[in-house]
């Protein structure tokens, strides 16, 4: 299960958060834990370089893309390697929508499209689509090219 996908800006403010299977009362804990993890480790990290951590039996893969840090949390079958696949799909799709690693402003300008991307990639804790070209097309309700 993919427990959370979270985007934050440089100051650690949340831009998008999606939880699945995490009780409401635990979300605040996760939010602050992830933001702190990013603040401690993401400084000077290259775009899309994946960092990893584990907390109890839960795995976290996170990275930075432009001005935005991205965190993906998973457990069981979504271990660090599967999460790397998920975050790769997310970063590729966001870059595709924004045309480059986004500034915070650009990210917010494309907010609606980014929400659609996420909706195509992760659906209630399960990975649904991974390919950025397909995601770009299905967001516009066009069938995938290979079809």
């Amino acid at each position: 299960m993919i427990l959370a996908v979270l985007f934050a800006n440089v100051e650690g403010n949340i831009l998008i958060e999606r939880f699945s299977g995490v009780p409401a009362e635990e979300r605040l804990h996760w939010r602050s834990f992830l933001v702190k993890l990013g603040a401690d480790n993401l400084k000077g990290v290259k775009n899309e370089e994946l960092l990893v951590a584990s907390h109890k039996s839960v795995y976290i893969v996170y990275t930075v893309l432009g001005d935005v840090s991205i965190f993906v949390v998973g457990k069981d079958e979504y271990d660090e390697l599967a999460l790397a696949e998920v975050i790769f799909a997310i970063t590729s799709a966001v870059k595709d929508v924004c045309g480059k690693p986004p500034t915070e402003r650009l990210f917010l300008d494309k907010y609606g499209k980014i929400c659609l991307c996420l909706d195509e990639i992760v659906w209630k804790g399960l990975l649904e689509n991974t390919d950025k070209d397909r995601i770009r097309r299905v967001m516009r309700l066009k069938p995938p090219t290979e079809f």
Binding site: E104, G112, C115, E128, V138, R140, L141, P143
Partner: protein
């Protein structure tokens, strides 16, 4: 909650820094949402408002019921627009709003229309939305479309239906299970993701059907798997099949090993890791099988990617727990990871090295760890402390440097859990390595001089009271203990008084001085401290004379409480003040076994200072009350033990019956718990006819029928037997449920009068030796064993014949005796050739029993066992041997 984004730097008026959502406010956005009701819809404007709503929701903002309903109804109007971009946003918005079941109906028809649309992508999205908001009734209406969608040529439609299926399986399993033919077809799809989703769903549908899973794995391992994700799933399912078939394969090659080994050469890293993990987790894996997996993992240790290094070291860390020797080749690579920037990787590397290192490398490793400890968080430090504890037990000669390390980190800053882990480790080392005792106790004494945690101080004081008096120079600890009386809070002061009393009781030379100190405590400001001081002065000194402490006093001070605290608490609450004083012997001692759900949780090993495990509140009281309310059983005396319920019927039969065995000194009562699962029947005069011809020592003395057993309302019937007093008599009983059936009129719910006599065959029931044993644990087995003494010790050796594994033999003996395993010794490390297991219990007649078992297994899996029993009664020690000999 995140703040609404604000301009970062006021000095810069670059517009790029302003957020498009600056100053966004829920009320205003809800006002803006009225554009959804415009007769001439502006798709661009509507999309912008939806984006704002999504932004609010993603920021954790919540809508009231009324607000959400209003927005939802407004959004449904947008189905009128033909704008594709807007339609996609509408789908997302409906999912986010999760409308309630009475609102869903508004969009159902629009979504059903989209589901049959010629535009594929409308279909895919409508499926996802419908499945998110639907309930069981609607699902049956759309089931036909979903089945078609699963085999749709468009992979996005197929995936949408399959992923919906995975979600729906949780809420409507019986419907989704009907789709297995279509899902089976989708597994063969040429589209990579469709195959992945189909495989996941098919496995979930069939997970309880071993044969089907095995067939699925067999066909796919021979066929083509198109995506690495699906390949990973296949590897996982393959290991499951291997695990389940292991019991049936006696010898020869392991099935599917070649497939797993082949996956180690896959081009996708996630597949390689999955295969390597599957191989390392095979039960009874040989070093020949392990080698290729370890080799690929070793290569990843020096990868430039964090995720791969982490995955490799995490897997090797696990392997090191069971096969430390297999990992030693990676030690050099692992040592370089100690300085890895990623602290998770560094901690895993260190703890792996601590498991795989040899005695000569300990000092070098400790030097590296000392530098490392200062810059990691407490949670990582705890892992390292636990690893060091195991290392010290493995290499006891190295205790000096390891103990020094622990005492150094004990002085540094840290939270409660971390400090507790260190203290627990020192305590375990003191218990297991006699040479470490004196230095360890002094480290603990120094720690309590400046300890901010009351719990740890009191636990250490208690431990000092037990171990301190037995050292060569007990008086050196008194100063540390008495300082607590001056400097600490009341809880610690009271614990210090008890510890002083223990020194006084055991060391006669110290007694006069201890009395002086205890007398000073009589003026303490706290009641409990004063009471304890008074009590100990009175009991230790008698009439003020310094006399030798008698045995009763020692038992009072040092004896275990023997009663689960939960039971004591319940009994005290039930006690009503009267002339008759509370009798501690009336408190039940049985530790009730945990409910199944809790048992599944990974067991925590008992830690150093922890009390013996205590079960949840017992149901013994409830049984006792129930039985004593039945006049026929009132003269049976005190209830010794009640068993867990034993099922006498298969699941999902007409009548569900289980039995609880209540053991008394001279009687056994069977309590049959019956449930009638037939809505159209009322059972009357329900009894169980018990045939005890295979239980010679038992004779039936009473039976209490159940007058009426309506549908789905459980009831009990009882049968009581007499047996020789105090004897662990065993036997087999066959049971027939006898009753009068009355048909119930489904319209009125009333039973018809003319009942018919009927019978129902139940499974047989056995009374076994373990029924006469209560599971009662001890916190320190060695101490309990020593204090029991060798007077009634009986030792013998047994051949247990060929066994599947050592673990199986150990668990068979534990369940035969029905005793409580102590100190986690019921767990047998895989591949070990020998094992020691410690058991404790109370036998009928309230006789304490301790058992030490030593097992060995040879090549053809012949298991031999040495059984040593100590108890308070010679005949009970012999009885335990008889149980094993006849079992």
């Amino acid at each position: 909650m995140a703040q609404p984004l604000i301009k970062k730097d006021d000095d810069r008026d670059d517009e790029a820094d302003y957020s498009p959502f600056l100053g966004i406010e829920k009320g205003a956005v809800l006002q803006e949402a009225r554009v959804f009701n415009d007769p001439q819809l502006d798709p661009r404007k509507c999309s912008q408002v939806i984006t704002k709503l999504l932004y609010l929701l993603n920021q954790g903002e919540t809508f009231t019921k009324v607000e959400a309903t209003e927005v939802f109804f407004a959004v449904t109007k947008l189905f009128q627009s033909r704008d594709i971009g807007l339609r996609r946003m509408v789908y997302l918005m409906i999912k986010e709003l999760s409308p309630s079941s009475d609102e869903v109906i508004i969009v159902t028809s629009s979504l059903m229309k989209d589901m049959n649309s010629k535009t594929d992508m409308y279909r895919a999205n409508a499926i996802r939305v419908l499945c998110r908001i639907t309930d069981g009734t609607l699902l049956t209406q759309i089931e036909r479309y979903l089945k078609q969608a699963i085999v749709d040529k468009n992979p996005v439609v197929a995936s949408a239906a399959l992923v919906s299926g995975i979600h729906l399986l949780q809420t409507n399993p019986e419907i989704v299970k009907r789709w297995s033919n279509e899902v089976q077809e989708a597994v063969q799809s040429r589209a990579a993701l469709v195959q992945f989703h189909a495989l996941a769903l098919l496995h979930q549908i069939r997970q309880n059907d071993r044969l089907a899973v095995s067939k699925l794995v067999t066909s796919l391992t021979r066929g083509t798997v198109r995506s690495p994700l699906a390949q990973c799933l296949l590897i996982r399912y393959t290991s499951q099949v291997i695990r389940e078939s292991a019991a049936n394969t006696q010898s020869g090659d392991r099935p599917f090993y070649d497939f797993l080994e082949g996956c180690l050469r896959h081009k996708a890293e996630m597949v390689i890791f999955e295969a390597a993990r599957a191989i390392t987790e095979l039960s009874g894996v040989t070093s020949r099988e392990l080698t290729p997996a370890i080799t690929v993992l070793q290569l990843f240790l020096s990868s430039s990617k964090h995720v791969l290094r982490f995955a490799a070291v995490r897997t090797l860390n696990k392997v090191a727990m069971t096969h430390p020797m297999a990992v030693t080749n990676c030690n050099i690579d692992m040592e370089s990871l100690i300085s890895d920037q990623n602290r998770s990787i560094a901690t895993l590397a260190i703890t792996t090295l601590l498991k795989t290192g040899n005695e000569s490398s300990v000092d070098r490793l400790m030097k590296q760890i000392t530098n490392f400890m200062s810059d990691i968080a407490d949670e990582f430090k705890i892992v390292v402390v636990e690893a060091i504890r195991s290392l010290c037990l493995k290499f006891p000669l190295k205790y000096r440097s390891l103990m020094n390390f622990l005492s150094n980190i004990l002085r540094e800053e840290g939270g409660f859990e971390y400090k507790k882990a260190i203290v627990d480790s020192i305590v375990i080392l003191i218990r297991d390595i006699p040479e470490a005792k004196e230095s360890g106790l002094l480290h603990l004494c120094e720690f309590i001089e400046d300890c901010e945690f009351t719990y740890l101080s009191t636990q250490i004081l208690h431990f000092l009271g037990i171990e301190g008096p037995k050292t060569s120079d007990p008086c050196k600890y008194i100063r540390y203990i008495y300082n607590r009386v001056h400097l600490e809070n009341a809880t610690v002061r009271a614990a210090a008084v008890s510890t002083l009393a223990k020194f006084g009781a055991l060391v006669d030379a110290l007694k006069p001085r201890i009395f002086v100190l205890l007398r000073r405590c009589l003026f303490d400001g706290d009641d409990e401290v004063r009471d304890r001081a008074t009590l100990y002065l009175k009991t230790l000194a008698g009439d003020g004379q310094v006399v030798e402490t008698d045995k009763d006093m020692q038992a009072f001070l040092f004896g275990p409480l023997d009663i689960p605290l939960v039971n004591l608490e319940t009994s005290l609450k039930n006690y009503e003040p009267s002339e008759e004083p509370f009798d501690i012997h009336s408190v039940p001692k049985e530790v009730k076994s945990q409910p199944l759900a809790e048992k599944k949780a990974p067991g925590k090993k008992p830690t150093g200072l922890g009390a013996p495990p205590i079960g949840p509140p017992s149901t013994v009281d409830a049984y006792e009350r129930l039985l004593s309310s039945i006049p026929e059983f009132s003269n049976f005396g005190k209830l010794f033990k009640s068993s867990a319920p034993v099922e006498l019927t298969e699941a999902e039969t007409e009548y569900a019956v289980n039995v609880v065995k209540h053991i008394f000194d001279g009687h056994v009562v069977f309590q049959y718990n019956c449930t009638n699962t037939m809505p159209d029947q009322l059972l009357e005069n329900v009894t169980v006819i018990v045939d005890a011809s295979d239980a010679e020592e038992f004779s039936e003395v009473a039976s209490k029928p159940l007058r009426s057993l309506p549908y789905d309302s459980p009831g009990e019937t009882f049968v009581a037997f007499e047996k020789p007093e105090g004897v662990p008599a065993v036997g087999k009983f066959s049971n027939i449920l006898k009753f009068i059936v009355n048909e119930v009129d489904p319209t009125t719910g009333e039973a018809e009068d003319d009942g018919v006599e009927d019978e129902y065959q139940l499974e047989d029931l056995e009374v076994v030796a373990a029924d006469y044993m209560m599971k009662v644990g001890v916190s320190n087995f060695r101490n309990a064993w020593e204090s029991m003494g060798p007077d009634f010790e009986r030792v013998d050796e047994y051949g247990l014949g060929p066994r599947e594994s050592l673990a199986e033999a150990v668990s068979a003996v534990i369940s035969l005796l029905g005793m409580q395993p102590c100190e986690g010794t019921e767990v047998v490390p895989s591949n070990s050739r020998s094992h020691s297991c410690l058991l404790s219990g109370v036998f009928i007649g309230n006789v304490r029993v301790l058992v030490s078992l030593q097992f060995g297994i040879d090549g053809p899996k012949e298991v031999a066992m040495k059984l040593a029993v100590r108890s308070e009664d010679e005949s009970v020690s012999d009885a335990i041997h008889e149980i094993v000999a006849s079992g």
